[in-house]
């Protein structure tokens, strides 16, 4: 995360509560790894951490998992986000050596720091130590940037990005595709289009 973003977060948190502790300098350092280049091998299966090192600390990864599962918990259709590998995906994303991703890195890691500071301010504990009701009370205040209080606008932007990453990380897996009932990506002898009964029910026949 760049220094200006860090400062903005620290100021945002300190304006309403105790100063944010910067727990790991490495998390905010500029990444030096290289991207996969303009001619990568498309035929192999990649796993987060192979192309560039993952950089989130174990503390950040724990928080990432808890927050992902608040956003996408297990339900009757599918398991939770962390079960589908979302933490590795988020870590890969914020560790990617491309400028857009490094911008997201600042927002995500800064947001994690803000959650801890906010937990400490409201309940005297870091976010992961809060009970579920306490965690949700923080999330409720930042889950919609359009409704968030002015002082929470930055935090709400973080939450929106983190929800997008969680959703993208979850629904792009086999578990996510199954949850949505995706039927494609299989070779067919013919494509027959939607059933007439469906079109009729929609007034399209």
């Amino acid at each position: 995360m760049d220094r200006r973003t860090t400062l903005k977060w620290v100021l945002a948190a300190s304006a309403v509560g105790p100063l944010l502790r910067q727990r790991d300098a490495r998390a905010y350092s500029t990444l030096t790894a290289r991207g996969y280049g303009t001619d990568p091998n498309l035929a192999v299966n990649y796993h987060p951490g192979e192309l560039w090192p993952l950089t989130m600390t174990s503390v950040q990864r724990r928080l990432a998992g808890i927050l992902s599962d608040i956003i996408i918990p297990a339900d009757d259709h599918s398991p939770s986000a962390s079960t589908a590998g979302v933490v590795d995906f988020v870590d890969e994303w914020v560790s990617a050596p491309y400028s857009d991703f490094q911008r997201d890195r600042g927002i995500v890691l800064g947001g994690f720091a803000w959650l801890d500071a906010e937990g400490a301010r409201r309940f005297g504990k870091e976010f992961v130590e809060l009970d579920s009701a306490e965690q949700l009370s923080v999330c409720d205040d930042i889950c919609d940037a359009a409704r968030a209080a002015d002082a929470l606008r930055e935090a709400a932007r973080f939450f929106a990005l983190y929800r997008d990453l969680t959703a993208g990380g979850f629904y792009s897996t086999p578990l996510g595709r199954k949850d949505l009932g995706y039927m494609g990506n299989v070779p067919l002898a013919s494509f027959d289009g939607p059933a007439p009964a469906l079109l009729e029910s929609l007034g399209l026949l």
């Binding site: 991207g35 491309y98 067919l188």
Partner: protein, 599 residues
Amino acid sequence: MPFVTAETLQSNYDVIVVGSGAAGGQSAYTLTMDGAKVLMLEAGRNYSASESSMFRTPDLAPLRGADTPDKPFGFYDATVDGGWNVPGEPYVRASEDHAGRFEWWRARMLGGRTNHWGRISLRNGPYDFKPKARDGLGFDWPIGYDDVAPYYDKVELLIGVYGSNEGLENTPNSPPGCLLPPPMPLVSDHLIRQRAKKLGIPVIPGHRAVLTRPLDYKHAPARLHPGNATAQKILMEDMRSRSPCLWATPCGSGCAVRANYQSTTVHLPPALKTGNLDIITDAMVYEVTLGRDGRANGVNFVDRISGKHRHAAARVVVLAASACETVRILLNSKSAQFPQGLGNSSGKVGRYLMDTVGSAVGGQIPLLENLPPLNEDAAGGDQMYVPWWLYREQHAGKLGFARGYHIEFGGGKRMPGHNTGAGLEWLTGGSYGAKFKQDVRRYYGSFVWFSGRGEMIPNDQSFCEIDPRVKDRWGIPVLRFHWQWSEHERRQAAHMQSTFADIIDAMGGRTQHAVQSDGAKAIASGGSIIHEVGGAIMGSDPQTSVTNSWGQTWDVSNLFINDGAVFASNADKNPTLTIMALAWRASDHILGRMRRKEL
């Protein structure tokens, strides 16, 4: 004769073809099937569609396949060593403003951009070759629809294009047997068609180079190569070996079963089979060389592997490097006889660069929520489209802009990816938890998008030239781009926005953002639609054009331009089919002149 190197290339080629995409592929095909010995030079690496990432899912890719500066159209896009920026091969923009910005997409690979293109294959209509005659703007081509129509027929028969004949104004029908049947529409296509009709907007089957059924290998070869038994046999075998569409996995990944058109899967295999084609890859052509007689005698190129500069010789040189790269080669081919660059005695090389006007609006449609599971991979997009429909109103001067646009659109339950479930706050109020999962299921497949693709009128402020300072990694001077839209394009973009909002409204849907009524903001930046053409336009006057109606440069009789650089206008119709038709036509002309010993 197959793939050669700088060390093994021959010295007795009939024709050099620079570039291996739509224009280069078609030129090499036409020339070699009729017996000409051809050397094709491609700046990028060798590529085969067997490298395609077909059926691979985002969870197997880094960043779930998200686009990065290394792969701007996503990890699994077929493009190799390409994008808006190619390492070591810079270009210069005279302006960075949205209004004056031009972005240049390149792909350094065999087959060029045909490996990832949208496969939309529309014929220009009669108006599109004579636009100035209709409204007094821009330029008329020295040829008309009737000159090109037989070549549209041939290209459609060869590559395989689905579509239908609707008999609409300036939207030509194809003769019987040319088109493959269109694919079935998606639910969203049905809805768009029904509601657009109420607004007087016609929705008809799209035209794309995708095989919806096997090619007619028994009859097409004889229609394409009458009297040429060898060519017929080669083509028959090749057509038989192409599979029809598997109705799955994006065309942009490249198609290993050859169910869609890529130069590498359709043009080059039969051309290689003739034994008349040599291909050298990693060969970056930068100059056309002249003999003492003032005729082209070959090209200079950099072997990108060794970095060495080389020469290749032939009787005829065909440039098919893509409009801007062709311009660059011409302008860098300076000699005492042609100090301003080759083919440039008119001063028109690089002038009248055009792209397509683009603007898009997306919407969410409640009627499409919570549909049962459906396989909607279909043909990979553009099952249907809207051809320009306001010819009468426009001609009567009622629209405030002079040229038309067509509408591409899409929807359906596409494969979930790294964007699925993103940005739903405007619909969900920021839900998370169990409610969020319900919301994602509810809205999945309920989004539609509309993209306008409109005609830009050539102007004096949109051009490219050689930058006086910047050179690429091999020391070759690079292009500098200048760009400006006119009020016609800006108003057209604003019209697109209001039209798309009207359609979404008629579908009972809503747009996330207010539509953009300011055309300057609605219009996509120059080059970003990747339909750049012009720069060496054809005409009937050597003072005002670079080539004659055959793509033959006025200045050098054995130098031909077979790519989009010769376009004298850029109709709303996507340029690739016309590029191929013109390349076939020019190549037939070259063959005839070679037979008559005129070349």
